[in-house]
């Protein structure tokens, strides 16, 4: 049985970039542990030699012809953006210049 403690909640929340209020951490830890308890019921199943199923239909990828079909819609897209300038999306300063 996996138990999610406060430390694990913080790690997961960081990976998922979710701010979590400290006062909610115990409840979250309990809920997540309960969900994992539920999930781990599948461990009773013997799956040796079973091929994983990623898609319900086991179909193959279709390929698209290499054609430009999209037009410039920057104005439309930027009209719903939180903060833009000079055609760019703005975010707080990124530290590493590549």
């Amino acid at each position: 049985m996996s138990t999610i403690d406060a430390n694990a909640v913080n790690n997961i929340a960081h990976l998922a970039r979710l701010a979590v209020d400290n006062k909610h951490i115990p409840d979250l830890a309990r809920d997540l542990t309960n969900i994992l308890d539920l999930v781990e019921q599948m461990n009773q199943i013997d799956t040796q030699g079973i091929e994983p199923q990623a898609h319900p239909l086991d179909a193959k990828q279709r390929l698209r012809n290499d054609e430009v079909t999209e037009i410039n819609q920057r104005e439309l897209f930027m009209s719903i953006a939180p903060e833009t300038e000079a055609g760019l999306y703005l975010v707080p300063k990124v530290i590493d210049a590549e």
Binding site: K60, A86, L88, Y89, V91
Partner: protein, 479 residues
């Protein structure tokens, strides 16, 4: 006693495939457009959008795989690499992870010790990210997503290189190959061909590898060499002072010529790869793979062998010519258009032409003298219309845009005088004008033969065929 170190280098090269549209959307890939004008709803990761794979990206990856003699996977899978970064709109990059399209292959490179075979571990398709622009927007960073979704082929080498020079040779060979195949425009300044270098060192003779560092995004051959050499020196100095190398991701600062750790990558990343449920497994059958194989152009190493066998070029000459697709093409066009032998063509292409281009800092594709023009010049050398010496004058005139060889020769009256009668008349004149020297020569001063040759050539302004002048002079002087 100081340790002798062995350098171990493996390279990861991101090759932008030169498709018209993006790998998963129908947005244009052209470089240099206004920011975010080529980022469609799919590239922006709008809610509800879905990716559809570009056939041409798959074809180009297949072509590359076949060119390095690699196995093409009949079943490959696109995965999501999850991390947050503003230039990554979906919060994940679609990339091939466990099952890449191209498996193990190899590439031959030219080194100081001859030809060396470098292993290619794999090559996989993925999407490029956007760009962060760090000009100051009131303390903020601007994001341009035009590049997001551009198809990349990431080519991973085995850790087979043992010096920065070998690494550069590998990169140049690979760069030439992908441009030769026509799958990448090769423009390094625009980021079409980018390199990450994994560098480690170990005491010579030791089996296991040392701890490696990864230097990211070094975008010119010169900087790759410098960055690797810097990193080698740094690692040696750390180890020799009793320290240890930390596995790290580094950025090369070309201005300071140093590497430094990337701050954002300090924390170990957990990318949570899993198969992208929006894309199905890519299945390629033999028929498709063979149809791509049929379109393979002659490969550089095949071309090198052919040059050696068909034209009798040395391995060095042949390797230099094939190392640059445009140069090889120029060479072959010139050869096709001239009666002159391959050796003469090689000498001119690699000699006078390359020298002039170097001096003017021009690429072969920018040569003011076309292959056809050079061929015309070589024809005139070959049929003795002009001497090699005069040919240099004609070449210079062609370089300066004065027309093709025939026109220049005619306009400047540079054709060799081969009319025996005309040369004999000049010889008679020269002998008559120089009775003293004639006397001395005839009395045994053989060295004066050169004087007479010089005089005749002077009278003909260098246009007389030197061999003919020699023959006729010998006859006349001794008669």
């Amino acid at each position: 006693m100081s340790t002798e170190w062995e350098v171990v280098i493996g390279l990861e090269v991101h090759v932008q495939l030169n498709t018209q549209s993006k790998i998963f959307s129908g947005a244009a890939t052209a470089y240099g457009a206004d920011p975010n004008t080529q980022a469609c709803a799919i590239d922006l990761g709008m809610p509800g959008v879905l990716p559809v794979l570009n056939k041409e990206a798959v074809r180009k990856a297949t072509l590359f795989g076949l060119s390095v003699d690699a196995e093409i996977a009949k079943h490959s899978v696109f995965a999501r690499k999850n991390y947050f970064y503003p230039d990554l709109p979906k919060g994940y990059q679609i990339s091939q992870y466990e099952l890449p399209i191209v498996g193990k292959g190899h590439l031959d490179i030219v080194t100081d010790n001859g030809i060396k075979r470098i292993g290619i571990t794999r090559a996989h398709l993925e999407e490029d990210a956007g760009k962060s622009l760090h000009e100051d927007f009131h303390g903020m960073t601007g994001i341009d997503l035009n590049r997001a979704g551009t198809p990349l082929l990431e080519i991973v080498s085995e850790p087979d290189m043992r010096s920065a020079a070998e690494a550069v040779s590998y990169l140049k060979t690979l760069h030439n190959l992908v441009t030769h195949l026509g799958i990448c425009d090769g423009n390094m300044q625009e980021g079409s061909f980018r390199c990450d270098a994994n560098v480690s060192i170990r005491p010579k003779g030791q089996q296991e590898f040392g701890t490696r560092t990864e230097t990211k995004n070094v975008n010119s051959f010169r900087f790759v060499e410098r960055a690797i050499n810097y990193e080698i020196e740094r690692q040696i100095s750390v180890l020799e002072q009793g320290g240890t190398i930390d596995q790290a991701t580094l950025l090369y600062d070309a201005a300071k010529n140093e590497t430094r750790p990337m701050r954002s990558k300090e924390e170990a990343n957990d990318y949570r790869y899993f198969p992208d449920p929006d894309l199905l497994p890519l299945a390629l059958d033999d028929e498709w793979i063979e149809s791509v194989r049929d379109t393979l152009p002659e490969l550089p190493h095949e071309k090198r062998d052919r040059y050696q066998q068909a034209f009798g070029l040395s391995e060095y000459d042949a390797s230099v010519l094939v190392a640059n697709k445009a140069l090889a093409h120029y060479f072959e066009s010139a050869l096709d258009n001239t009666q002159a032998p391959a050796k003469l063509v090689t000498n001119w292409v690699m000699g006078d032409l390359s020298g002039a281009l170097n001096k003017a800092s021009l690429d072969i594709s920018e040569s003011p003298v076309s292959a056809e023009q050079l061929a015309g010049l070589l024809d005139r050398i070959h049929d003795d219309t002009i001497s090699s010496k005069i040919a240099k004058t004609v070449f210079e005139a062609m370089w300066n845009g004065e027309g093709d060889a025939n026109a220049i020769i005619a306009a400047k009256g540079l054709q060799q005088v081969t009319d025996t009668g005309a040369i004999e008349t000049i010889i008679d004149d020269v002998m008559a004008a120089n009775p003293t020297q004639l006397e001395q020569y005839r009395s045994g001063k053989d060295k004066l033969f050169g004087f007479f040759v010089g005089q005749v050539m002077k009278q003909t302004q260098g246009k007389a065929n030197p061999q003919q002048v020699n023959d006729l002079l010998k006859k006349k002087l001794s008669s």
